[in-house]
Symmetry: C3
Subunit: 447 residues, 3 copies
């Protein structure tokens, strides 16, 4: 709008000067007629005076017009636009910005085999957020999970403040994701399968804290100190606290060609709670049944997670793997070691590539869009996951599973997914020797 | 804005041509003077050259101005407007749209007679939603009920995705209302009385599912398959599921003149839960006391609801009636039949008519608005409702009641209602022979 | 934008008249040449005719241009802007307005001494609201508290409708704050310390009700009738109800110079509940431990609160004090009297002043902004609070504390606070003789 208005101003001004130049032949004619004696000196004087008077008036008016136009065509202050469906309002001076968006994941699942898991449906996630910029250098976000069936039920997900005024370092304060695990850093909107891998049992989640991070083209580094999760209420007991750091390195980071390596460390002191628990559903969420589960482990002082990440994307083909181990220190009883890993690969039949930015993969932009004559993007995925939650006196069980997935990205903000999960074997724990399988579908809009 | 900008461009361009035409008498004069021998050939040549030069410069400038103006006055991409108070942001290419709105219903009630119901107040509904269009053919909505006292307490109401790319058929996936019952299809913003009728005991509510529907001027048809309600968590048990269909026919559908007929079928399989319950408060909500209640019925395999609808609207007068019956199949014990019905009529003292669109009634637009010199719309309503929840071994009770209502629509987005409900008689159940009555008022803003 | 468009129209119109005036010398020249016999009568006639024709065409075109420009430059209908970060959308006709904003307060606290209070973190408040105007005279607001740890947990805060069509009186219906207490009338965004004083134990909170109020420059008056709080569900019992009134007087109310006096009365009938409870944490919130607490008092008929307020602000220095007493009437047992008070003072090191408007203090606008080369506003605060919850057979305890605070307002929508609270002594109650102290920090964005 403002650019356009400036153009209008500029062109109207050139129109003015044009008008002025169009009359110079009159002056020439008058001079000639005077030279030729066709008008008397007195008449010439009157003509020149009138000409000058008219020119003076015209010039004054033009100056006034120029001034008023400059004022009139100053750009408008605020621009409103859509970002894949999200509303983005930006002040042109870069001082303020506000985004309003959300997501809905509507799921259904059918189970077979043991343990008994109930077929059903759920809104897996239903979120609305506002985020933006205040006074140039400051950012904010508040997002709420309305779905009762989310990871932690209804509740605040992101609620933070950032300072972006330093050249390369961002500071963040509030409630947000611990910097750990490649599949956790990617939004749940963007994961290859409907649920994260079995190794997601070690995902630290969001905590209240403060973080400094830098994100470059070929590497990123984040370090944070955390209190407890936002839903924890201390009462008379001190809440837990933690430290987290993650480093990533991308020796290749070009459009459609990415190699990623990453390392994460996540320490948590349980403080007065002195408990920990690790568990996982078989890469589904609706039934709510954990296939492996350490149950509550008592006398826990602290635990340290170590995660190793590797990923690559070459054109439509991509692969990703992570190994995570967790060491639990107990005040009585021996230390415990649990671990998990997954390897996954995906392929865009329609030729798209995964997007990589600053240490994490995000969504895909279909080459053609359903609603604009296209067919969207189609992606196949395959994953092998493994999780071992048995050590020493803790018999949480060990499980391996294979997941096959199909994703259809009808538009950049829409996704339909179908997953088949086959649990190969459970070894130990409450579900020893079980081998359930399941089908799961999801309809998702997100922006 | 863009239309206006185009107009500015057009008028500036005509200004240009005007300026040009204003000078033709100079050329005539120069030619005359040359003919008359008043200027020499050499002078004439110079004058004509200067004139042509000035004209050429002027024309070039005009061409540049025309081009720049065309660019400058291209329409802006996004339009922001209000729809009765709701914010509507539309991209001009029809690709995106986002609406932000909500509603608040602040209620108070006073009770007399038995059973003992507590006088009080509540926010009956407090909702915010975002809805809109993505990439032309896709629609979405997410609405949340913040009021703790709503039908199902706090929680997601609508959370769905639609595909509108077919000519006549819309597809919907997610959580939304079952297609059943005329008074249920109308938003709670638009019901004639503060609460739906006693027969509302059979309203199926919202479920997770998929629906195809077509809505024509004179008829509509919807068919859907559903899982369970969004708040149900299956655990080890399979969730219930259902089927629903509704057909409507409007032989007359003109402005201010509507005849509507409808038929709904709603089947629900309780699956592992094997229970059902039907109940109703006496057309109030604050006290939370059910006047009739089957309590939890065990051994229920499934139940089928059948609803018959009829309504008419002629100018300010309108009437509506529904009969609903529910047949419950039990694995042990005989089948059960419950039913309910209501007849209601309303009259706009100020002469407005109810709006009818695609198989449901919606709000009214007052002829004059409070705040713009008007008095708003005033409506009287009368209803007789009946509900029978006693059959075989189930003694839920039978109840009849009369409701008298007054609505004041101060503006299209504001409504104040006063209702008097007189329960004529309860026959059977826990409240046998009770005859309570109540006054209820509501202040509502909704858009 | 509309003002600017009007300017464009005006200047283009003046451009027109300029163009016209620029040509008068041609007419003069033609007349002269005719007088001098340089052009024949016939030629003169043709020239004048052509001149008039051109002028007529020009005038007609100008009239058309004028008309089209007037149409084209009508102001756009809706204006979008930022208000400290909140989105404000206004229709230019004043008919509609919608604001979207929120707040996040991220807190951490460390405790020492008895009683045992757990160190920890929390999102103290996380809110989103929409508010606005409908059809000129009507206002609305709906705000929701997403933080689980707020005063009343998650839930609706403001949900109301206002009528602003009277000259001096506003009417409000719905759920909103009782008109009582200077520190309660100020938003939690604006309090000098992270938590209100010990005397905040008597803050009435929000209730469902209706209020009439008038707010003048030098005085304000509000009177309201209330039902119970929005989260109370009556069931078979009648909910409590209340009356509230508050009058304020500001003999001095100039920019940077304010003297405020206030008086509040708040009556509450407990109705069927017949209970009351008063309690306070030691000016902190995270641990959730009450340092004094009457526990539930039985047989309470009603209670009356009286509050006296005094405050002054002179340039960067400000002070505020309140005394509140509560008289509880019991159906069995003697009446009870509890009271509390605080005195606080603050000083803006950077020279700002507190803003005062219509009977309450609000935020501060820093003289310079971090992100625009400034350092923000820095404020020191000191408070002494006292609360006595022991009377007759109720031994809730008596407590005094001192709070020292530092606030940094980096921008008008950002605030960082650090508080040190020293509980001087607890006399009686469960924590007799305890003297805990605590450090608390907050990061807040709010708009």
């Amino acid at each position: 709008m403002n650019f356009k208005m400036t153009m209008v101003a500029a062109t109207i001004l050139s129109l003015n000067s044009m008008t002025a130049s169009a009359g110079s032949e009159i002056e020439t004619l008058i001079n000639m007629l005077h030279e030729n004696g066709m008008v008397s000196d007195e008449q010439y004087g009157r003509l020149v005076a009138e000409l000058k008077q008219n020119q003076t008036v015209a010039n004054e008016e033009k100056a006034e017009v120029t001034k008023q136009l400059a004022e009139a065509t100053k750009p408008s202050d605020v621009e409103v636009k859509f970002n894949k469906g999200a509303l983005a309002v930006n002040s042109r001076d870069g001082k303020f910005n506000l985004n309003l968006g959300g997501r809905v994941q509507a799921d259904a699942a059918v189970y077979s085999g043991d343990p008994d898991m109930g077929n059903g449906t759920e809104i897996r996630r239903g979120r609305i957020y506002i985020s933006g910029t205040m006074y140039h250098d400051w950012g904010y976000k508040l997002e709420y999970e309305f779905a009762n069936t989310g990871a932690n039920g209804k509740g605040i997900t992101d609620a933070y403040l950032t300072y972006n005024g330093f050249d390369d370092v961002q500071v963040k304060v509030g409630n947000f994701k611990d910097p750990f695990s490649l599949e956790y850093q990617a939004s749940s909107k963007y994961t290859l399968f409907t649920e994260r891998s079995l190794a997601g049992a070690f995902i630290p989640g969001r905590h209240m804290g403060a973080m400094a991070s830098t994100k470059q083209k070929h590497w990123s580094l984040a370090a944070a100190v955390f209190g407890d999760s936002v839903s924890t209420k201390g009462g008379a007991e001190d809440e837990g606290w933690g430290l987290g750091t993650r480093a990533t390195f991308a020796p290749i980071n070009e459009k459609g060609k990415v190699v990623h390596l990453g390392l994460g460390l996540n320490y948590r002191d349980t403080d007065d709670a002195e408990t920990a628990q690790f568990k996982s559903q078989p890469e589904t969420h609706i039934a709510g049944e954990n296939i492996v589960d350490t149950s509550t482990i008592a006398n826990v002082d602290d635990y340290l997670k170590l995660g190793v990440e590797a990923a690559a994307s070459f054109g439509p083909l991509h692969a990703q793997a992570e190994y995570t181990t967790t060491s639990v220190s107990r005040s009585s009883g021996s230390d415990l070691d649990f671990d998990g890993w997954y390897v996954q690969t995906g392929y865009f039949i329609t030729g798209e590539s995964r997007k990589y930015k600053k240490g994490a993969f995000s969504g895909v932009t279909p080459k053609s869009i359903v609603g604009e004559g296209g067919i969207g993007a189609w992606e196949l995925g395959l994953r092998y996951s493994s999780l071992d939650l048995s050590d020493s006196d803790i018999d949480g069980g060990e499980v391996d599973s294979v997941t096959l997935g199909l994703n259809w990205y009808a538009t950049p903000s829409l996704r339909f997914s179908a997953n088949y999960v086959d649990v190969l074997d459970v070894d130990g724990g409450a579900n020893d020797n079980d081998e359930p399988s399941l089908y799961q579908v999801r309809s998702q809009w997100a922006f």
